[in-house]
């Protein structure tokens, strides 16, 4: 049916879209070590992503699909990056400071979605562990054609799920006792 060059061209076009984004591992994995360095605190919470009424709670980050949070500390310009995993719970080891959870990037296959968060939280010296809340990201609008990610602006909410979170911390991190609650809050009105 087709000539050989035609088939080659057709195959190239079909597969041209695969893997063209040159990705490397995230800059800094805030959970790279389970040993807390001196002066650092465990900061924990959760990100709930709701897409068209359903919780997305199975994150298995790899180079072609991830939900990545970006943070800045104090006046630093060096982003800290963290890929959501599992049910979206996170346990970061961070030194004291003023942090801004600036944005997230949701990447899936060939779609790259960036949205601002701009939520701030404080880590005081000596506090550990610190609960900063559950960030709920709710997408309700349309989707990108032929792709799986949403296309609209999400609504953002910070919830206090301390009871559930402290139970998870005890199980996941074999930690006893209570945690300091210091919920993040949005830096600006929407």
């Amino acid at each position: 049916m087709y000539t050989k060059p035609g088939l080659v061209l057709l195959s190239f076009l079909v597969f041209a879209g695969c893997g063209l984004i040159p990705l490397r591992p995230s800059l800094i994995d805030a959970t790279a070590t389970k040993v807390i360095s001196q002066g650092e605190s465990i900061v924990f919470g959760r990100v709930h992503v709701v897409d068209r009424g359903k919780f997305v709670d199975h994150w298995y980050p790899h180079v072609t699909a991830y939900f990545r949070l970006y943070l800045l500390r104090d006046s630093s310009t060096q982003f800290l990056a963290y890929n959501l995993s599992g049910d979206g719970s996170f346990y970061w080891h961070l030194p004291p400071g003023h942090y801004t959870l600036t944005s997230f990037v949701w990447h899936d296959s060939l779609t790259h979605l960036t949205r601002p968060v701009l939520a701030v939280f404080e880590i005081a010296e000596g506090d550990s562990p610190i609960y900063i809340g559950t960030l709920t990201v709710t997408f309700t609008e349309s989707r990108h054609f032929s792709h799986r990610l949403p296309a609209g602006q999400p609504s953002l909410e910070i919830k206090d799920d301390y009871g559930e979170a402290i139970q998870r911390l005890r199980v996941d991190r074999s930690t006893q006792g209570l945690a300091t609650k210091n919920l993040m809050h949005f830096e600006y009105a929407p």
Binding site: L13, G17, T102, L110, L113, R115, S146
Partner: protein
Amino acid sequence: MRQDWLVAFLCLGLCSCGYMNYYAASPLHPMEPSRWAYTDSYDPPVVDSLSPTLSWETICQTRGERYDLAIYKTQRVDDADWPVGKRIYFREGIPTREHKLDITLRPNQAYYWSIRVPCLAVTGVSPTWSRFVYYSNWSFIGSGCLIEDFPFFLFATPPQ
């Protein structure tokens, strides 16, 4: 006949990527560079000054002519991510569709900028921040479009 069909099929595929979609407003300055092909990931336009004048046109029905402008630092990370950084500029109630920044930006730095437009919606006025989506990478019937969905517009400053 078969060749005509093949050509039409390929043209359909090639035409399916390579454009930008704007929401709420589209930027007039800095102007997007003309692109003969949309085969690469997005590169922001470079402004001509460290205190540039930004201008835009609205693409939704609006009530009144009052705009808010916000500028955030950003940088390309991992070749593909453009995380939002600190907000460094915010002006409310701009009465025209252009604004000259009254601060000096850093040279060789990328910035997000966005206009909050008083778009009319069914429920009344729905202030909406402008943003855009960049579709690149020619491929087959849209299956391989690289979609970069940005939260705001982007520009970069020139060297000093």
